[in-house]
Amino acid sequence: MTHRSAGVRPTHLSADYVVVGSGAGGAIAAAELARAGARVALIEAGAWRQPQDLPHSILGTFGATLDQWGVSITRGRALWPIVQGRAVGGGTVVNSAIIVRTPADLFERWSSELGIDGLADAVWAAQDEIEAELEVGPTQPDQLGRHNALALAGAAAAGYPSHPTVRATPGCAGAGTCLQGCRRGHKRSADLVYVPQVLDAGGWVLSNAPVRRVLVQGGKAVGVAGRFIDPITGRPGGTFRVDADKAVILAASAAHTPTLLQRSGVRHPALGEGFRAHPGTTSFGIYPDPVDMVQGASQGWASTAFRTDPGYKLETLSMPPELVAGRLMGGGKALVDRLAAYRHMACFVVGIRAESVGTVRAGWGGAPVVRYTLDRADMERARHAIWTLARTHFAAGAEAVVPGVVGLPYSLGPDQVDRILQASLDPRHWVAILSHLFGGAVMGADPQRAVCDPRGRVRGVRGLLVVDAAVIPSNLGVNPQHTIMALSRTFTRRLLEEGA
């Protein structure tokens, strides 16, 4: 078993399969192939950190585990950060390990609109297995903390269904640090569950190894090439090349997989199209008693009651003071005075099931450039969502809410909640981030409209597969980790069945 990272000497390896990206899609594909007896090289752009090596600070988290230190931004009417993991384990290291099975309506839509059939049963069967492997279970009452308990009570009082999140965090101590990575090792992230299986089977793991291009010869993917970088300074190190005798499998994220295909000379009219996301924003409630939101599970509460109409999901989010300091409006003493209420704040968040579609292209230096603007219908969803969250806060006993939209007062009282329904729909007046990215190399039956076929195979290049969120052709409206993992396992098994 061998792991190689940040070397200065050129590296040249050969394997049956090369997997690019070690997050939810890549790690499970690599493990599946390794368990089948194949020689596998798993290649990751980010660093490998054991749980005890994960940073404590948010600044450290930016540098150690996020793509571009979290400062990639959308090009569009508003400049919103794009948050993606970049580490061995990918986003599973720094997400809240929320596990939601793929809703049936998605498979129906994919079948009727895109001709993608025969996926549902295979994906759900894979999800049964994954739930066992990740020791998935609901957040327990003693892991909730007051933060999540308030949300549960607020939703019940406001009259809509919600639940403790189902997560892959057996033995969670409720430290409230999921977003920094679990230093206790309680999160069953891909780096702890699936990457070791690759090593145990004799495969290779290369970290700090961003792939520059897929090597294509005679219409077939034959390997990848790139250059190591230093995990701390980012300075370039030695080159690497990994040959693939059977196939190259891409799982570098919905931002990086399409641009890697573009850099590698793949041409398809739909490449880089169909980019989607779950734009997210926050609503703070201010309560009479301390909430101490970083005590308890980081995201221990959720509701999908509004997933189909109007189209959003709700969750809690433990935000440390470093992040709240940047999120609240204002500056100077006014800002610090607002932060004095930090202990009394609860943070509820929304992920919009946005129908807006953007593009992702390789820009200067080959880095992804995402063009994406929410349309009016999606902004109305966002506005309705923060109104719902405000009502939830008040139903839970909050004295005030902080809607965080330019044009509204800094805080609103219970009798002012409907003012949110008049909030601006200009995206520039909102503070939001993009997480849960989809598309850019979508699958479908139509060769002209879909880069990949319904088995994840890239059209026009033999031996090249996409197994991450880049193939997902629509917004899920639920946390995507489980769907990505199950799609990856399904595509990888079908690849093995057909013998590449």
């Binding site: 090596d53 701390i232 204002g330 932060l339 330019v406």
Partner: protein, 134 residues
């Protein structure tokens, strides 16, 4: 440049009766780490934000002076208005400055103690760098 950066960052998080402000040492420690580790784009964003803040009191408090020359009261008003200015690109530049200042402010021991949080230990480095066979 370092002096301008630290002054601009501190303007967003002054000491109040309720909470400590951003200490100069904490701002320097933050900037030292960025110099050593952060990508160029991240550092350029902060520098652009600090310059925009320093040169723009005319936009916020109507005074054609750099923010370094403002009284404490005017500087405070400048910081508050700059953070929510209607010029979007200007506001986003200021946001990069405020975000960095917030990261440094919220990581300070004295701030965390005031918010009933334990101090943050130093961030470890990865032990799986270099060529290793685990």
């Amino acid at each position: 440049m370092r002096w301008i950066l630290t002054r601009a960052m501190q303007a967003f998080f002054p000491h109040t009766d309720a909470l400590p402000g951003l200490a100069e040492e904490a701002a320097h420690a933050h900037l030292d780490r960025l110099d050593a580790e952060a990508p160029l784009l991240f550092r350029l964003g902060l520098i652009a934000g600090a310059l925009a803040f320093t040169l723009s009191p005319l936009l916020t408090v109507g005074l054609p002076l750099p923010s370094l020359w403002l009284s404490a009261e005017r500087l405070d008003l400048h910081a508050d208005r700059a953070a929510s200015h209607p010029l979007y690109l200007y506001k986003m530049l200021i946001f990069t400055l405020k975000m960095n200042a917030g990261l440094a402010w919220g990581a300070q021991d004295q701030v965390r103690r005031a918010l009933a949080l334990a101090p943050l230990p130093p961030d470890p480095r990865t032990t799986l760098a270099g060529e290793v066979t685990p």
